[in-house]
Point group: C3
Chain length 475, copies 3
């Protein structure tokens, strides 16, 4: 065998001196490319982190929306009389538990199940399907199934809890439970599917970003029908047409509730972007401008009309502003959001008077806030949508005042009417069924003494002395 250096010498001679060196770069490139590819498989990409950030953001928003249950509970309870406080509290507490289960069982699938059609979703009940079976995935909404479910169930709970206030102080507890389950399991998911489940309203171009119609007016219609079927509370309307105020018992918690709802709306509206991007802060700002304008407007209008600033109107004005900007929080400019909220705040003051004039007794003004302003906000998209607002992508929706003509406005009216009609029909059926089976209303005696003792056998404020004059017939 030749010595080692001989082998090299011969080898080098054969390959033409040093020219083999030209192969080193090629080899290195192959090596480098290989390395990069291997690296890419192992390592986290920015897109991975963005997806996680989307989920974390929407998850935090879900928490805020779920916390809105505390806001509704405090506003509604505070606006009712102390003899019914336990009843209102229990309804508002159990309703999200029931909504969670009903939406998990059925509702989520009726709203997002991919095996449905334009009118209703279907399949993959009990959250049992793959993400794609609910329209999720890299090509659609890029969230995990769990994030999306939690956000959606929080919304479903909101629709149900709106009803609670309007029917307060005279409805049988069990009736409210049954109605809530039916609403969150069936009625809300179906109309929700029409838009957010990719149904026929979405195809046509109806725009309701965070649910002025899909959530608030659905809850509002259901509440209106409930209040109508129940009739007014004893002592609310005199036979001569006079309206008696039945003042709430705890405006401290009602105010707290309003501020909790304001907080929660920062999850409700910006979270509806379903992603963490540069637009969510924009949505938060329009939402906040709408709330502020609504609160100021309702305060000053009610002040001008009654001579004194009314705290309950400030509360409802803020909520009215929030509901009003919910549909268009992504398409309104700052000034548009301000004006829409302002008009919402004015509307709510007159709506409260209007419902009293037709003897629809809504103890907390839920119908005025959620139904009237839900409709107004949805209409407002057809008026104030400003196509210049879209900072990314953008659907280019133009309202009447921004050169869009009547097209979008017509679509908005179509959405309002069809969702409203469906909800009125279905909730009428629900209310009539529970009425015929169980009866809707507690006895007159129970109503006078308060539902807390009658329905729950306990009182909310044990140890305090109360004025019991309203517990003796005041017809």
């Amino acid at each position: 065998m030749p010595p080692f250096d001989q082998v090299f010498k011969r080898l080098f001679a054969r390959v033409g001196g040093w020219a083999w060196i030209a192969c080193i770069p090629l080899a290195l490139i192959i090596l480098a490319t290989w390395g990069v590819a291997a690296h890419a498989q192992e390592e986290l990409t920015a897109a991975d982190v963005q997806v996680t950030l989307n989920n974390i953001w929407v998850l935090v928003c879900s928490f805020l929306v779920i916390f809105m249950n505390a806001g509704f509970a405090m506003v509604e309870t505070g606006f009712c009389r102390q003899k019914n406080a336990v009843n209102v509290l229990t309804k508002n507490l159990i309703v999200f538990a029931l909504a969670t289960l009903a939406f998990w069982f059925i509702g989520f699938s009726l709203m997002f199940g991919a095996n449905g059609n334009g009118w209703v979703g279907w399949g993959s009940f009990f959250l049992g399907g793959a993400p794609e079976l609910y329209g999720l995935g890299p090509d659609g909404i890029n969230l995990t199934k769990d994030t999306f479910f939690l956000f959606q169930v929080a919304f479903a709970g909101t629709a149900a809890t709106i009803v609670s206030g309007a029917v307060a102080e005279r409805i049988k507890f069990v009736d409210f439970l049954i109605f809530s389950v039916l609403l969150t399991a069936i009625a809300y998911p179906i109309t929700g599917h029409w838009l957010w489940g990719g149904g026929w309203l979405a195809d046509l171009g109806f725009h309701d970003f965070a649910g002025s119609t899909i959530v608030h007016s659905v809850g509002g219609w259901a509440a209106l029908m409930g209040a109508a079927f129940l009739g007014p509370r004893m002592g609310k309307y005199n036979s001569d047409g006079q309206v008696n105020a039945l003042p709430g018992h705890n405006l401290s918690i009602a105010t707290l509730g309003c501020l909790i709802l304001w907080l929660g709306w920062f999850g409700f509206n910006p979270g509806s972007q379903l992603a963490a991007d540069s637009n969510v802060a924009y949505i938060a700002v329009t939402t906040n401008l709408g709330a502020a304008a609504g609160g100021v407007a309702a305060t000053f209008v009610s002040w001008a009309m009654s001579g004194k600033p009314d705290l309950s109107m400030t509360i409802n004005g803020i909520l009215a502003g929030l509901v009003s900007v919910t549909a268009g929080c992504f398409v309104f400019g700052y000034a548009g959001a301000f004006v829409v909220g302002l008009i919402g705040g004015i509307l709510v003051v007159f709506a409260v008077g209007f419902f009293d004039s037709i003897k629809i007794d809504d103890p907390v003004g839920a119908t005025s806030v959620h139904l009237v302003c839900g409709i107004w906000g949805t209409l407002a998209v057809g008026l104030f949508a400003n196509p210049n607002n879209f900072t990314q992508g953008g659907e280019g929706i133009s309202g009447l005042f921004y050169g869009g003509g009547l097209g979008q406005l017509g679509l908005q009216i179509l959405g309002i009417l069809t969702v409203g009609l469906f909800t009125v029909v279905l909730s009428t059926i629900f209310w009539l069924v529970v009425k015929s089976v169980l009866g809707l209303r507690v006895s007159a005696e129970e109503e006078m003494k308060g539902l807390d003792i009658g329905e729950h056998g306990m009182e909310a404020y044990s140890g305090f002395l109360k004025d019991t004059s309203d517990m003796t017939g005041v017809m």
Copy 2:
């Protein structure tokens, strides 16, 4: 045409002089590699952003858990009588301040200090060590020391605040303060170390994801011993065995507190993942299902038993469901979480009756919620853990009902018993020391008139007229 090797031979011969040109690619590669490396040093990588996201997420969860102090304060105060409201509020407010200081001084090091052993951590007191000295870093829990501390101190505060409710309405204020400091500085961190500090229970494979045992049953055992040493409130149990309800004074704030706790639990359980990943939403959903199932179960069971739906049972049922799913929120399937929460909600109703039957007087049901359901939830991991739930990595824990046999169940029982025994022994020592030095219980006169006047010289609801009949001896 010359043969192929001839072509190469000629080629290589010819490039003689110019062969250096082959070095250009090599030079360029070196240059490019250099550039990329330099770039990498300057620029943010996706992994960097992921670490920041982990910290932000766990930080937000810490805030939510710290906010649980408001939830406990409202639930416990609302469930007590108005004459003791200031006392309960002060205890619940100061306890997190004390826990913060005690855990900063000592507790955090006993729980996570790297200079300890399997039984107790040690070293780097006052948060003075490097992250590695608390088991943090790229190879362990990839959080900053501050994020991890804040999350852990929030947990420690929770354990202490559980005790507050069970001993309410008759304990001396100073005793509670001392006990809380001892619990958060010494007892809680030691058993916490056994699992979360990488101690002997972690080595064996005991699983308690977010602390059904490590937090809730520890607080529950300490509460039970306190309630036992204190004895029942005056008027609670008649000599003929009759149990008198001493109703809470403010169910509005109690309900609010429950909803605040529900919110806080979304930090407690999903935050325990200690990272922002695709599993946190899953944990949030199982947590929510458990809460809903617990609330519905307790409502209907108590309704069936007493004839009327009891708001305080709905509140405790939701909390029971939450405590029950805390240990297994990451290993239960959806249905598992539902069933575990449901059973928790049923258990809490019977537990309240059970403790009354043995004359352990717990004014707010803390023992029933945190101890009984803490034990149940920990056991349930050994029954319902579903190895198919792990979407990433995964420890593959299998419960009895999912083919895992009795192994995991045995470990769970071991953890429950050892943590329980240690906590019972240590808290007995603590309670007996404060009892012998200071006396545990306020005077009978002070108890009748209320601790607010006796211990604090003030009342919670000045300006309201109260029913003082329970301030005159009712034995």
Copy 3:
């Protein structure tokens, strides 16, 4: 010299026809580099995700700070008498709505508008400018305009809401509204510009990380002037110098408010980093240590002085600790934050006594908390700033006790005095203008009967029996 094509011909001849093969690697490198560059243009980078994360984090912090309005509302209302609850609630609810609009119209531009000078910002009113016109962008604060606005408007609202408590129970409602608008539109933004808008105090090196001076003492000075011009409530100070306690009506909601503020401060201080980085958790920990130390200190000091632990002092002590660490939460070490909070908690107890001794009647202690501890916290930066705390970048501020000499302390005093003087002068003008036009104080009869009936025509707790002895002249 041969023509160019000749050179090439000769070159190619020399490299032997096939030598061009050596160029393949070069071509591949160019191709590869090109590919990477193209990729980079299409794909999300880690830096993009980091910017989104910054925005999401600061947005979440904004929500927490906005929620502080609920905290202030509950603390201030709870500390007042029930006959004025509606009034305090309405003020605290409407004030953030007004602040939102005033800051949107004018304030944000006076604070951050890039067309101003070192004394005041200018231009781009109504949030109408490009981000650069408010000092935002890749080279400055890398947040979107909307994120930054929401965070800043939340801060502006805080300054206004501080005033509310000090002037409670005797100010005309409309006066408070006008003053709040002037404060948030003009006074707060101007001094805010001096530091956070890059004005002259920023140039000099004054350090107030999250606003002990810029927010809290500004609100505190305005509150002090208001309380001084209004004079004390009827019955507060006897002619013989005796101070009468006028106890708050609802310590449950006051305690809740304190815990909401504690939560909100986790947005206030860590959010002031204006980015999601590894320091925000550090700031959260120092903030929490300050709160805990302040609460414990105030509790024990008031306990030692009055013989009983006073819940209202625990509440104010926690808030005092929080205000105290606000300026230096980023530059204090853990021990520094603890000591600064501790001293804040002691100071607040004596400050409450001091203001009573000079007959400045502040029903909720806002001046003691926000003004006194705001000044203390700002001074403390000049004493306790520890240059070793900066884990990233870092401005290297050194306090007197950490080798920094008197330099920083002098700057801190300069900032306290100039901001204070300006706010005192401007708020004096504001108060005197509203006083001369509208009168500041409600009638003696209205004050006795309560502002709820007088100003709002409603009561907060309808249905409860109240002690009306304080509604009949008690001078």
